[in-house]
């Protein structure tokens, strides 16, 4: 059976949840194998084994991490050549969509981005995509080369299926062309203890309605009471009330959680582009005409500084703490 390559998402040896989801999806089409670029493969190995990676291909060294997307594409292209996998799957992040693009060019393969589901239909891997702000559901497939597909986090529940996950170093020399753009520094902004935005099951986002950087604290508190990640609209990140990495939307992170709460957010098209595929949407806004209410499964028209504290009090009572 052919392998299905899954690019592992990790930071400091921690395997991100989406990787388990991708390994789960991969099982439908062949034998899952993980590809690990960078340090920490040993620490990540148990998780990859738990979710069914037969093999873990490891590329480690500065050559693989100090340049923009070229090295990842080189590694994957070499593996595509050597292993002829049934598909290559990656999490849909800004970075990975670029890796996928380079890999598609290198291997002359079709690529599909932002899948929210994958099925095997008539011998093909069919990706479900939600396009035009969620108005249309498209099923598409790759006709040429190796299917290269980026998948949104939370598209499927990760299921354990233990496998060996034997580590295997890949012997790839990074091409000069891939080393064109050198990373001189990676600046990481604090996330604290909260779950990561792209992966969280619940996201609580605040907008201009919170009024100030201090006002944003109420969003963090609500998020913490639900064990949620914090998100923000562009109005908030532009004003400097919260760091940009928390921006949800077209040019921020795309999220697809079980529950999305939009607090004091109007619901501009660029914001909606980043949260429209959330399973359940709750909105609090004092303007009954705010476009976010068109999407909301439940909405409260009211002042967030009245509504949210009351909501938190109820959550506190129910959780009995």
């Amino acid at each position: 059976m052919a392998e299905v390559l899954v690019l592992a998402e990790h930071s400091g040896g921690d395997v991100k949840k989406v990787t388990g989801e991708l390994l789960t999806l991969a099982r439908q089409f062949g034998e899952p194998a993980a590809v690990w670029v960078g340090d920490g493969a040993e620490e990540g190995q148990p998780r990859l084994a738990e979710y069914g990676a037969g093999t873990v291909y490891v590329a480690v060294g500065a050559d693989f991490t100090d340049y923009v997307t070229g090295p990842e594409a080189d590694v994957l292209a070499a593996l595509v050549q050597e292993k002829a996998p049934a598909a290559v799957l990656m999490a849909s992040t800004g970075q990975n969509k670029e890796v996928a693009g380079r890999l598609a060019v290198k291997t002359n393969s079709g690529m599909l981005c932002d899948a929210v589901g994958l099925t095997a239909t008539g011998g093909k891997i069919v990706a479900e995509q939600s396009v035009f702000g969620g108005a249309t559901i498209v099923h598409s497939a790759v006709r040429t080369g190796t299917p290269i597909i980026t998948v949104r986090p939370n598209s499927v529940a990760a299921e354990a299926a233990p496998a060996a996950a034997g580590l295997q170093n890949v012997d790839v020399t990074v091409s000069e062309a891939a080393k064109g753009a050198r990373v001189t520094e990676k600046i990481v902004q604090e996330t604290g203890e909260r779950p990561e935005l792209a992966e969280a099951a619940i996201v609580v986002s605040g907008g201009r309605g919170v009024g100030s950087a201090d006002g944003f604290e109420i969003i963090e508190k609500l998020a913490d009471s639900l064990g949620a990640a914090v998100g923000a609209s562009r109005a908030v990140t532009d004003a400097g009330w919260y760091p940009h990495k928390f921006q949800v939307g077209q040019t921020g992170t795309t999220v697809s959680p079980q529950l999305y709460m939009a607090i004091g957010i109007s619901g501009a098209i660029q914001h909606r582009a980043g949260m429209q595929t959330s399973k359940t949407i709750v909105a609090v806004n004092k303007d009954p005409e705010a476009p976010i209410f068109e999407l909301a499964d439940f909405g409260v028209v009211g002042d967030l500084f009245q509504v949210v504290p009351q909501l938190m009090e109820d959550i506190r009572k129910r959780s009995g703490s």
């Binding site: 598609a104 035009f132 598409s140 990676k186």
Partner: protein, 259 residues
Amino acid sequence: MNIVVCVKQVPDTWAERKLKQGDATLDRESVDGLINELDEYAIEEALQIKEAHEGEVTVLTMGPQKASESIRKALSMGADKAVHLIDDALAGSDVLQTSYALAKVLENIGFDLIVLGAESTDARMGSMAAMLAERLSVPQLSLASKVEINGTAIKVNRQSEDGYWQVEAQLPAVISVVEKINEPRYPSFKGIMAAKKKPMQVMSCADAGIDTSLVGLANAATEVVDFTERPPRQAGTIVKDEGDGGNKAAEFLVTQKFI
């Protein structure tokens, strides 16, 4: 400096966008087209670089006749000239093919710097800068929130999942920009008038040396199997806060098993 900005005409995001029943390609006729909004930031950045370092800004678009509207807009903002790649053979091209076609034109017209938007509002692939860098063997400095050029050295801040990266390279290079980078200017009346006289070169596949057996719907590397309109979202429950809005929200979260 020879700066080329790649601009895409997209359907208005506020209009009802649809795929065509026959070939599942984008219905570009029934909705108004306009310039992809992030591409306005790309044009602005190109103009600012030109103003600081001298040179010329060329707008490049691949698309049907209608796409010339976006070219006009770019020229009226201040770009110097335009190239419009237009050919029936290109219709229905996917991203792999579009990157091939654009790369061919770019090889033809030459460049020191290529500037793109980070993603388009219709396709949302966000991979064109990477694909052009790969095809043209030039450095990729994409997702930039800040660009600095010094002679032939270029530095950008690249937006990442958890912050940003500082990235350095030598020109020629390709960059893509996010909306934090600047505030696009509005075309002035003078700009709009001047745009009418600026050179616009129309190119066909033959002109650019594009092999037509590698582009277009029939040769695409991906296919749409089927598509459906999402059933309209079930209208949600909207309540007005009468002093119990928070309680009601909590009740909803309980019924949905979130608390």
